[in-house]
Amino acid sequence: MTFYQSIAEGLFLAFIILVVLGSLITIRAKMLMKTVLGLAVALLGVAGIYFYLGSMFLTLMQILVYVGAICIVMIFGIMVGYTPTEVAEKSIKDWRNKFLAVLSAVTAFLLILVCVLKTHWVPVAAGNRDFSAVHLGHEFLYTYCLAFELISVILLIAIVGAIILARGGAGKTAVDIPVEEKIAGVREEKGETTA
C-alpha cells in the first residue's frame, strides 16, 4: 500500500468514527442543543465519506445543506424555544413506545440493507464528471425530475406534521385552546407551579 493510499484509508476510518461518534452524541445527549450539534458532527462525517468516494459536489452539498442550513435552522428553533441549560424531556417513557421506536429503526435499516444487497452496483463512468451549471440543471429538471418533486412532497408532509404537533394534536386548532390553558402549559413546561 502506498503512502497516499494509507492516508486515504486512515481518513476513511476517521470519517466512520466521526459518524458513529456524532450519532451516539445525538442519541445520548441530555440537552437538545447538544443533540443537534452531534447530528452536525455525524453529517460532517457522511460528507467526509462522500469525499472519500470522490464526489466533491455531493460533499459540498452535504455540508452546505445539512450542516450549514438544516442544523442551523434547528438550532435557531431550539434557541427560540428553550433556555440554554434546559434538559430535553424524555418523550419515550413507556415500554410500548420504546418497542415501537426500536422496531421502526430496525425495519428501516433492514429495508435499506435489502436495497443495498439486491442492487447490482455499476461504477460511475470516470468520464462523466461534467459539473457545469447547464448539465446540473438539465439533470435536475429532466432526468431526475420525479425524485426532485417527490422530495418536495416529503417536505410538505413534514411541514404539515410540524404544524399539527405545534398546535397540540390533530383535533385542536390554535383558536380552540384558551389563553389561560396556553399560559398554564408554558408554566408546566418550565416546571413552575400554577398559583
Binding site: 466533491m56 450542516v67 442551523i72 434557541m79 441549560t85 451549471a133
Partner: protein, 327 residues
C-alpha cells in the same frame, strides 16, 4: 531514519503552503487591525495609535503579543467542550477557501470545478462558530449575539447566493479560474452592477461588519457571542473575522472586478497577484470606511432590508440576466 527527501513531494508542498497561508493570515490581520484603527482615528478627527513605533505602526504586534501572553479564562458555568471548540470552528473554515482562491493565473493551489460552491460552503460553516461560542458561554449577551448571528446569516445568505448565480449564468462555470478568464474583455461589475452592489452589502452582513455588526454590537451586548473569551480564544475570533473579510473581498474581486486582470506586467501569470491584492485591499478599505461612516442598523431594519429589498432585487436581477443570456 527518515530524511526529508524520502517524504512524498505533495506532502511537503502541502505543509509549505499551509505555513505560507497561515503567515499571510496573521500578517493580514495585523495590517487590517492597524488600518482599521488608523482610518477610524482619521474619520473621527484624531490621530489613532501613535505611541508604539513611528505613527504607531508596531501597535498591533504589541497587542498580538499581549493577547498570546494572556491567560485563557474559562468561566465557571460554561459548557467546557463547546467553549473551547468554538474559536477553532471559527478559524478552520476561513483557512480552507485559500485552497481555491486564484491570486494570479498560476498562483492557485487547486482549481476545483466547484470552487465557488466550496467557498460558499465554508462560509456557511462559519456561522456554527458564533453559535457554539455564544451558546456555550452560558451568558445572556452571548446567547443574544448568537441568535442574531444565526438570523442574520440565514437571511443574508439568500441574496449572496442569488447575486452569485447571476454571474454563474453569464460565464457558465463554478471554477474561479474560469470566471476570471471570462472577464478578459470586460469586468462583470459593468455588466452586473446590481449583483455587485447586492454582493458587497450582503457580504458586509455575512462578515458581521458594521453597519450590520449586530451579533457583537458593543453598545447593547458588550461583545456579543465572544463576550466571555480572553487571550487566544478572542484572537482566533478576531483572526477569523478579518480573514473572512479578506475572503469575501477576494470573491468579489474574482466575480466582479476581473481577478488578476490589469495593465500588462512582466511575468504577468505570476505578478497578476499585484492587481488582485490591490483590488482586494481597495474593497477592504471601502468596508472599513463604511463601518466608521454609517451608524448601526436596528435588528428589524436589518432583516427587513434583506427580505424586502435585497432578495427581490437580486431575484429580479437573476431573472433579467437569465432572459438576456438566453436571448
Amino acid at each position: 531514519m527518515e530524511t526529508i527527501s524520502t517524504l512524498p513531494p505533495e506532502l511537503i508542498r502541502m505543509v509549505i503552503s499551509a505555513i505560507i497561508v497561515i503567515t499571510f493570515l496573521f500578517l493580514n490581520a495585523i495590517m487590517m487591525g492597524y488600518a482599521e484603527r488608523k482610518i477610524a482615528g482619521h474619520v473621527q478627527r484624531r490621530p489613532g495609535p501613535m505611541e508604539v513605533g513611528s505613527h504607531g505602526i508596531l501597535q498591533m504586534i504589541i497587542d498580538g503579543i499581549k493577547l498570546v501572553a494572556k491567560e485563557l479564562i474559562i468561566p465557571f458555568n460554561v459548557d467546557r467542550t463547546l467553549f473551547r471548540v468554538a474559536p477553532l470552528l471559527s478559524f478552520t473554515p476561513v483557512i480552507l477557501p485559500f485552497l481555491v482562491i486564484p491570486f494570479s493565473e498560476k498562483l492557485q493551489a487547486r482549481d476545483l470545478n466547484m470552487g465557488l460552491i466550496f467557498i460558499v460552503t465554508m462560509g456557511s460553516v462559519n456561522v456554527m462558530a458564533c453559535l457554539v461560542g455564544g451558546w456555550g458561554s452560558n451568558n445572556k449577551y452571548s446567547m443574544f449575539g448568537a441568535m442574531r448571528a444565526v438570523a442574520q446569516a440565514i437571511s443574508y445568505e439568500v441574496p449572496i447566493l442569488l447575486s452569485i448565480l447571476a454571474v454563474i449564468l453569464m460565464c457558465n462555470t463554478f471554477s474561479l479560474k474560469g470566471i476570471v478568464g471570462a472577464q478578459q474583455k470586460i469586468w462583470f461589475v459593468f455588466l452586473q452592477p446590481v449583483a455587485f452592489l447586492i454582493y458587497v452589502v450582503a457580504g458586509l452582513a455575512e462578515t458581521n461588519r458594521a453597519p450590520f455588526d449586530l451579533p457583537e454590537a458593543e453598545s447593547e451586548l458588550t461583545a456579543g457571542f465572544h463576550t466571555e473569551y480572553s487571550g487566544m480564544g478572542f484572537s482566533l475570533f478576531f483572526l477569523g473575522e478579518y480573514t473572512n473579510m479578506f475572503i469575501v473581498a477576494s470573491v468579489a474581486t474574482v466575480l466582479f472586478l476581473g481577478g488578476w486582470h490589469g495593465p500588462h506586467l512582466p511575468y504577468g501569470e505570476y505578478l497578476g497577484v499585484v492587481w488582485f491584492l490591490l483590488k482586494v485591499y481597495f474593497l477592504l478599505f471601502l468596508m472599513i470606511m463604511v463601518r466608521w461612516t454609517y451608524p448601526r442598523v436596528r435588528f428589524d431594519q436589518l432583516l427587513n432590508f434583506s427580505w424586502k429589498y435585497l432578495v427581490p432585487f437580486s431575484l429580479a436581477n437573476l431573472l433579467i440576466t437569465a432572459v438576456v443570456v438566453k436571448l
